[in-house]
Subunit: 269 residues, 2 copies
């Protein structure tokens, strides 16, 4: 069994960051907008801040008191020419979610707006791609996994992982099956898949009897269970049964963090 080590993939992505940053005309400078009181996403935001500081990327966190305040702050930031990238702290109130599409495409560093999603689906090379989905692809590429004609099952159909993975996997000539909470015969689909990508947010959901022997497993889940971080895959249960697997922590999450910085740099290149 091979462990697909996110740290190695991330290091490989980061290795030319300094060189790229030395070449850009404007130093990237990002703003993260959120609403006060959402503790869970604080951890992620702190991680982004730390990474930005490491690369001397401007970072500003703007926490609003309420939706009205958020809209006002967003309007100011959107028109601020010194800001090169904008992202929203998730999860966001439905009332402000549609503002994502008002982020100018170039500044949409998470690649979650209409423009970037349209570009991604039409195969446009300059699309900013949602980091988590791209982290799956970068991991597959780093480890030289050939997907041509292989069956890849994606479990989960979110706008930031499942859906954006579809065009990226089709480009690699994979046969794709998208499963989700309403899927009947999930096990039947997974047992015929060469690669399974789990992105449903259910701790230790996937067991070895659900997959075929020597499958390659990619775990996008980050769940808290008994004070520990675990993925959507029961790692201990499957580890001796599979060909390769991404661990949690130490897998897709680390690569995702590196790719956000990559997107931030791309936005000024």
């Amino acid at each position: 069994m091979e462990i697909l080590d996110g740290k190695q993939v991330a290091e490989n992505i980061k290795k030319d960051f300094e060189e790229r940053l030395n070449k850009v005309k404007i130093r990237p400078n990002i703003a993260v907008l959120g609403i006060k009181g959402d503790g869970a996403s604080d951890i992620y935001t702190r991680k982004i801040k730390k990474n930005c500081e490491k690369y001397r990327i401007g970072f500003k966190l703007i926490l609003s008191e309420n939706v009205k305040d958020f809209k006002k702050n967003f309007k100011e930031i959107k028109d601020d020419e010194s800001i090169t990238g904008i992202m929203f702290q998730q999860p966001l109130d439905g009332n402000v979610l549609n503002l994502i599409n008002e982020i100018p495409a170039q500044k949409d560093i998470e690649g979650i707006g209409i423009n970037n999603m349209g570009k991604l689906f039409l195969g446009n090379e300059d699309a900013q791609i949602p980091c988590t989905s791209k982290a799956v692809i970068k991991t597959i590429e780093y480890y030289g996994i050939n997907l041509e004609g292989k069956k890849v099952a994606i479990v989960g159909r979110s706008s930031i992982v499942g859906k954006p993975l579809i065009p990226q996997l089709l480009k690699k000539d994979a046969t794709i099956t998208v499963c989700h909470s309403k899927t009947k015969n999930l096990v039947k689909e997974l047992q015929t898949a060469d690669v399974v990508i789990m992105a449903i947010g259910k701790a230790n959901f996937l067991k070895k009897e659900m997959i075929k022997k020597d499958a390659i497993l990619i775990d996008v889940g980050i769940n808290f269970l008994d004070g520990k971080i675990v993925g959507d895959i029961d790692y201990e249960d499957v580890k001796d049964y599979v060909k390769a697997i991404t661990p949690v922590p130490g897998g897709i999450g680390i690569v995702t963090n590196a790719l956000l910085i990559d997107n931030i740099i791309r936005s000024v290149e």
Copy 2:
């Protein structure tokens, strides 16, 4: 075996066209741009013209001598406020294909530009949707076929059929498998599918031994064989083995034509 009759679906779509057209402030007025000498697409264009005339929708065909001429004509049409919808006659030279994304989203009546595709993938209700893909959905809806949890296999991954079908089928809670020319085990995927949508452009490709009994088949193919129009499905071979099937001609094609008019009206509503 039930025949999913495109004519009935199209009539149902067209039944409120006159009423809707009486309500709009500006009468729709479209321009079709192409390059001279492409005989195959002339048939489709003539059909559109006829349909536009029927509903007193303005129609203008602008055939250019070459790519340079096309670009010049496009620039004029794009800025012409009297034109409410623009489409390109396909297949188009690669040199002009990217101009599709310069069609203002509102005037992109075929729904094939970045903006509409992004909206479609993110579930935005005001997306203009590529007509052929929407014709598949409208046919499924008209005949009350419930896709929740069902396995739907899409064969073909084009930007106008296979790809835009994905979010539309996910919205109906189907489990989706996307197959294409590089797929290994195509038959294995098709034999476990409750619904098979064929969109590869290969005459009579699908035979009954490739599918499961009582599957529902949707045929998007339009192929010319021995002077006759046939689909991607060998109709005679499968007809007594399936639960339902769309004929060719008389199936998805007719619905597609109605939906183009629907999109043209939508663009001014």
